[in-house]
């Protein structure tokens, strides 16, 4: 009896008791080719890791020299004169963040709307075409957006900037004033502003955001959508009750991925802005700066000290985009829509 309880009753009690405690060991015999393969694949991984680690460690080491001389002043100083030992990224970081936020104001409504439009409104026939088109736009080089911004947008946006600043000038960041607070009217005061750069960068990151969001929306369980429609919801009711909550991870993740790219964008911003080294809170006024265009501007004239100062600025930018990317991917992976895809 005791035996029967111990061993589960699948076996016939009449059969002699086989000792199952001794499970046969499965040994995977790897031959020479297998071992070589494992070795080669592993060394591929190691080389990749080494390259990545080298970039990170090298950046950190070289930046350290510059950071040690400046301490926390590095984050609060606006001037950039490494030759005098006085430099900080307050102004460039402010510009970088301003441009990225303006870019998000352009890209998020457009991207969200387009993602919903493609996944919920467009008929199946043209859906594939629209998806390819948006994905293709994600591969358009940033220099193309840059020349569009310089030669087309710049000229056409000035009247609007002027109108906005004269109408809504009472809002501090929309005003365009000179040092003593008098409004400026000259068109040249409106060129090369953070708004123009932000607009171009926004258009550049929209395709990435759209495809992340659309991917999340397209995974909404059909049963839940049909359930909402069957209960009498309109299309918008269905989107609000089912699709948007389901794709929330995708919306946040896509937005942050776009933010990461907007912060790191170099050449389009560099072509549009006129660099200054002071904090300019008037986003319509000419003159702003960004970390990456600072590097592009100063790499040539930099001495070894100057180079490590630039490295420090690059390191801060990298850390910011790193945190944003990791947050984004963990949000996407932990959301319902991202659970299967990752």
């Amino acid at each position: 009896m005791a035996k029967k309880i111990r061993s589960t009753s699948l076996r016939d009690p009449e059969t002699p008791d086989v000792d199952f405690a001794e499970k046969r060991q499965l040994v995977q015999v790897s031959d020479f080719a297998d071992k070589t393969f494992a070795g080669v694949a592993r060394s591929g991984g190691i080389i990749t890791l080494a390259i990545m680690a080298a970039v990170g460690i090298f950046l950190a080491l070289r930046a350290q020299a510059a950071l040690e001389t400046q301490g926390w002043n590095f984050l609060t100083e606006t001037a950039w004169t490494p030759e005098n030992g006085k430099f900080g990224i307050a102004a460039v970081l402010f510009g970088t963040v301003t441009i990225a936020i303006i870019a998000l104001f352009v890209s998020v409504p457009l991207g969200l709307g387009t993602a919903l439009f493609i996944s919920e409104v467009l008929p199946e026939r043209i859906k594939g075409f629209a998806i390819s088109l948006v994905d293709l736009m994600a591969a358009v080089p940033s220099v193309v957006f840059g020349i569009w911004g310089v030669f087309f947008l710049q000229a056409n946006i000035i009247p609007i900037s002027y109108w906005v600043s004269s109408t809504f000038g009472f809002i501090p960041f929309l005003a365009v004033t000179d040092g003593s607070g008098n409004p400026l009217t000259d068109p040249s005061a409106f060129t090369s502003s953070a708004v123009i750069a932000g607009f171009v960068v926004g258009l550049m990151v929209v395709p990435t955001q759209t495809s992340v969001m659309r991917e999340a929306f397209s995974q909404t369980p059909l049963g839940e959508k049909e359930g909402a429609l069957a209960l009498g919801a309109t299309r918008w009711g269905m989107i609000r009750a089912v699709v948007l909550p389901f794709g929330r991870g995708g919306i946040i993740g896509g937005t942050m991925l776009g933010l990461g790219r907007a912060l790191g964008e170099t050449i389009a911003v560099y072509m549009i802005i006129s660099p200054i080294f002071e904090i300019n809170p008037q986003i319509l006024k000419s003159g702003t700066n960004s970390v990456s265009s600072l590097i592009a501007l100063r790499y040539g004239e930099a001495s070894d000290n100057g180079l490590s100062a630039l490295m420090a600025a690059g390191l801060v930018l990298f850390l910011i985009t790193l945190v944003i990317n990791f947050t984004a991917s963990s949000i996407v992976a932990n959301s319902r829509s991202g659970a299967e895809s990752n």
Binding site: A41, V55, S142, F145, W148, W163, R235, G260, S292, F318
Partner: protein, 401 residues
């Protein structure tokens, strides 16, 4: 329990068709009704008329973009008003949101297409001259007309740089992706995390890394090779990530079937996993290439501008297409700007072709074959069947004797 239904057998009630016929016709649920079209036309017309009156007649407003923006908002208001005659709140909201979604999609797609076509149309001027592709800028100054000088040097530079970058990226990237998926383990997870982190590396920082680690230390001079290294640092994480996703999509039962048939791990990867994921891997590499070709700032930092055709990647500056665009449009001369747009158009066309290639070769889930591939597989398996059958018949003959 007795079966009660046996008592009622033979009485089937047919539905009364006359009642069904009397009911009104079924309303189609999805179709856009004629009234809805009229609603749209009506609100468009009234909002346009109203805006037209405001701009120039009643008030001194005048601006094309202001006109469009005002017209759009007025259209939304009018459409909401007209919808509210017949519909309730839910329906009105649904209609307004539909209009907003349509406009978001159309605005975005047309804006992006506009960027592309603006470049292509302004590039025509330079692209029309054949010498644009056969000469370099060595003997052409900023004041020279468009029939002198070209971008051969930039095309050569881009080709050499991307070839070196691909020669480094493809084996390393796909090898690492195979390692992440087929070998696995804690170390692989760590490598995956680091590779994901590196996708966040801004391109200019990659350039700065090569500049200060290789060029300033004297290991590699400012050259095409240095630029290719910077592009590799940019492309590698992208390719690893994309191929990792593709390899993960290969069905596990294929691997298990192969292992169960006695194939070794290496043979499973070489004969089952990689061929199954081939189209996806090609797509991953091509998309990485498209990103790598478009990078400007790493090349600016590591190789620099030149106007001479340089075939040697180990020595001397070697310009690439995007950097040439950047350099051309810095000049105030109209011909240089035209050349800049021509170069940008060329670059854009290269990216378009690469993308089309990626779509044609890949774009299919692992295991889905093209018609030609399917035919080849069928032929192979017919051959196998033939072979096995002849073997069987031979062995049965031997058994009988």
């Amino acid at each position: 329990m007795t079966l009660k239904s046996s008592k009622n057998k033979g009485t089937t009630h047919l539905p009364d068709n006359t009642i069904l016929a009397q009911q009104p016709k079924k309303r189609s649920l999805r179709k856009f009704r004629f009234e809805d079209v009229l609603d749209l036309i009506g609100s468009a017309a009234s909002s346009f008329a109203f805006t037209w009156l405001l701009f120039g007649w009643l008030t001194p407003l005048q601006s094309t973009i202001g006109f469009v923006v005002f017209n759009f908002f007025l259209f939304l208001v009018m459409y909401g008003l007209i919808s509210s005659i017949k519909n309730r709140g839910q329906e009105i909201r649904d209609r307004l949101v539909s209009v907003l979604l349509f406009s978001a999609g159309i605005i975005l797609i047309s804006a992006l297409l506009f960027v592309v076509f603006y470049t292509l149309s302004r590039g025509q001027l330079a692209l029309g001259n054949l010498n644009f592709f056969t000469q370099s800028m060595e003997r052409a100054g900023p004041l020279d007309p468009l029939y002198v000088g070209g971008i051969l040097h930039a095309v050569v530079g881009t080709l050499i740089q991307i070839t070196i970058a691909l020669a480094l990226t493809i084996p390393l990237g796909i090898g690492t992706a195979v390692f992440l998926n087929e070998i696995g383990g804690k170390f692989a997870k760590f490598v995956r995390t680091i590779a994901d982190a590196m996708t966040a590396l801004p391109s200019i920082v990659a350039g700065l890394f090569v500049l200060s680690a290789f060029i300033r230390t004297g290991v590699v001079p400012r050259s095409g090779l240095a630029a290719a290294l910077a592009i590799t640092v940019m492309m590698l994480p992208i390719v690893i990530r994309a191929s990792d996703v593709v390899l993960r999509l290969v069905a596990n039962n294929l691997r298990e079937a192969s292992l169960a048939l006695g194939a070794s791990k290496w043979r499973t990867v070489w004969h089952i996993v990689l061929p199954t994921a081939r189209s996806g891997l090609v797509t991953a590499v091509i998309l990485g290439t498209a990103r790598g070709i478009g990078e400007t700032s790493p090349v600016l930092l590591t190789s620099g501008v030149s106007s001479v055709t340089n075939f040697n990647p180990f020595e001397g500056p070697m310009i690439s297409l995007p950097l040439q665009v950047f350099d051309f449009v810095k000049s105030p001369e109209p011909t240089m700007i035209a050349r800049g747009f021509g170069t940008a158009a060329t670059l854009l066309l290269v990216v378009l072709v690469l993308f089309a290639l990626a779509r044609a070769l890949g774009g299919k889930a692992p295991g889905n074959l093209t018609k030609r591939g399917q035919r080849a597989v069928n032929r192979k398996s017919a051959e196998d069947q033939n072979r096995i059958e002849t073997l069987m018949s031979k062995s049965s003959v031997i058994e009988r004797t």
